[in-house]
Amino acid sequence: MNLDRVSPDLRPIAEDIARRFGNRIDAWDTPRPNEVYVHASMDLAAGFCAHLHRRWNVRLIAVFADDFRNEGGVFHLYYALAADAAHGFVFLRAPVSPDTPQFTSLANAIPALNWQEREVQDMFGLKLVGHPNPRRCALHDDWPEVYPLRKDFGLHTVLPPFQGERHKFRQVEGEGVFQVPVGPVHAGIIEPGHFLFSVAGEPVLYLQLRMFYVHKGAEKLFEHLPPPHAVRLAESISGDSSFAHATAFCHAIERAANVEAPPRARGIRSVCLELERIYNHVADIGAICTDVAFVTAHMHAMRLKEAVLCACEELTGSRLLRGMACLGGVRFDWDAGQIALLRALTARLRPEFDSLVELIDGSSSTRDRLETTGILQPKVARDLGVVGIAGRASGFDHDLRRDFPHAAYDQVKISVPVYQAGDVKHRLQVRVDEVRESFSIVEQLAARLPAGPVRSEIGELPAGRVALGYVEGWRGEIFHWIRTAPGNRLARCKIKDPSLQNWPALSEAILGNIVPDFPVVNKSFNLSYSGTDR
């Protein structure tokens, strides 16, 4: 075992793992200094995660499986852990034999894993042992017994059309309790999902979520596309995070190929990520206002968002920054005129945005609706591993831009807003603070964008590499984990959108609130259905 490659920050943790679990570890793999893989058997998982969490405050960011039967005769289960303070990732890789396709659930100890473990069960047919609620999650109840992410399941398999029971919700009973089903088609211009409220009068007693209505087989599709095409698919994981997802994917490929994007490309990436953050945050601020019927603020927000989208079109050719990301950098360089436009944009938007915030702060009826609504307690948020805006509004101080600097975030100063209150008002406040922060990041980067090329060449991908790409999108942390296959293809692409992690928190935040407040609470999280369902 050689830990020399491990980055100095991460080394103490690696050494501790070696000391403590050394005799039970089969192998080590350190493809990159901040990415360490520990190969061990499954029964190590619970103790391993618990120890790292206690001793090093390391958090579990994802659990996923990989069909490794063709190469090694087994399935692999990965537990991905992030050590924020040490700026590194630790993976535990455990084999699961196809003869006994089952694995032990950690969801009792780590509620954040609830959905992810069930997704592994649905997509790979690995049975969960000891899960508190092992019902179907990613595939609806009417799906036949298929395991789409196994290699022997064809992408184009034609399944019989939908029939029968979609999902058996739990019944909530009691005097005066009745159930209000909402969806999957919602009344607004939003994505489909099914909510079942159990209410007593107006207060909500219990909220059950049914997602995965827009499951499009994206992870499977990744295995069939050459990487340059897959970038375009990554853009369609969640349209509002097009650039963030595409960049996370490119980042993963670049890490697998051991190529780094040139400095200018990284600067441009950061600017684009911030533009994406600005337009989404501004839109959300407006949408939160419209959900409490303060339409005036909404309209001003929409106007600002439109200005950002037009600037994006001028900078990248697409209003949603599509077609800009590419492997090894970005597709289009910016001339002086475009950079001037960027600076003019922030100069113009800053005062406009301030007056929008003033408008909202000045409206006492709006404030009254937002304060103490939909509180997500910091403790609950921690247990559920809530990330991103919602996490920061509930006391979770982390941000990949600061803790794992990617793109050009090592070049700028970033302060992360963190609040403890966890209500709608503070989720709004996090957005307000972040937009201001984004303006300043864009200005800093636009002022000194390094010269040079915007793209490094990436040849054919070597087979059998694993890599994690990460980006702090506007909603929270986005991970793309890949394993490469021969012939410039991917054997697996696991996508982790922050929404998947945050949905269950919505059920917690709405408890005790009244039904008509649900839309604004939901909007304050604004999670992506498509990013969850893929």
């Binding site: 211009i189 827009v214 599709l221 005036t296 309209m299 106007r303 697409s318 209003r319």
Partner: protein
């Protein structure tokens, strides 16, 4: 209170003049690609570069039929990077009432190296549609009374249109732009067009996304809950042609694989001008000024 009114009044009306004025689209914007059919030397590099299969070809007997399907195109511009005969324009108004009119094709005589030797003159052969499961019968077959309905809808919806937006599986990119139609800049209400909460109030379904297996039934139910006369507009590359997702184990592909579609609005996602154009085209008003 005065602050709010003051801000509103000082900002003034910001709505565009479109469609009376041409759409404001950056010259750098990527709209529909244009292929110079006569100068096209070889379809293979562009077809290989195209992530969605919008550009494809078929070789048979020393001839090649090259085909471009605008409905599937995500306007990424990779084809233009790969082939000098293809150029990206910033034209975004591409809505069509007829699926076939989005497809263009040409026939070439092939050289020994597989490149095009010469364009075969005459009307391009109608390229065959990609194989897809036939659209299942819907409760009231629109086709049979198509013309009548069209007349009636023109009469009825001309000045008042209620739209129900249905996301049948999109990535939410289209939703961002559709929501933009309610912004003060595009302000769809000035046409007497309104988004509504219930399919029963709706005249038009604006459907996005490759229809997923899980949403198929919901989409069909929504369609059945919409009173006649009604029309359906498919939005985006995914809604029009399946987009980058196409047909797989979890998706049924384009919207017209599930319910009949009256107007297709290509784009990924379509520019708000393009959406306005498509919606107005569906009610035969795309040429008009404000009223």
């Amino acid at each position: 209170m005065f602050g709010i009114l003051g801000k509103s009044l000082s900002t003034g009306i910001v709505t565009t003049k479109y469609p009376a004025a041409p759409p404001k689209v950056s010259i750098r914007a990527r709209g529909r690609p244009e292929i110079d059919w006569t100068q096209w030397k070889d379809a293979r590099p562009a077809a290989a570069a195209c992530p969605t299969g919008a550009i494809s070809f078929q070789d048979a007997g020393g001839h090649r039929t090259a085909r471009f399907d605008l409905a599937q195109c995500i306007f990424c511009g990779l084809c233009a990077d790969a082939d000098p005969a293809i150029r990206m324009t910033n034209r975004v108004e591409c809505a069509a009432r007829d699926r076939a009119s989005l497809i263009s094709a040409a026939r070439y005589k092939l050289g020994d190296d597989g490149a095009h030797r010469q364009l075969v003159p005459g009307p391009a052969p109608v390229a065959t549609e990609p194989a897809r499961p036939p659209a299942p019968a819907v409760s009231s077959p629109l086709e049979s009374i198509g013309r009548q309905i069209q007349q009636r809808s023109r009469l009825i919806f001309g000045r008042s249109l209620h739209i129900r937006e249905v996301d049948a599986g999109s990535c939410n990119g289209c939703e961002i732009e559709i929501a933009g139609l309610n912004s003060p800049v595009y302000d769809i209400e000035r046409f007497g067009i309104h988004f509504v909460a219930s399919p029963r109030h709706a005249d038009m379904l604006l459907v996005t996304g490759p229809v997923t297996r899980n949403m198929e039934l919901a989409l069909r139910k929504t369609y059945d809950a919409t009173p006649e006369p009604r029309c359906v507009v498919a939005v985006g590359a995914c809604g029009c042609g399946g987009g980058i997702f196409g047909v797989n184990y979890a998706t049924r592909g384009p919207v017209d694989a599930v319910i009949p579609v009256d107007v297709y609005v290509p784009g990924c996602p379509p520019n708000p001008h393009a959406l306005l154009h498509g919606i107005l085209r569906a009610i035969h008003r795309e040429q008009w000024g404000r009223i």
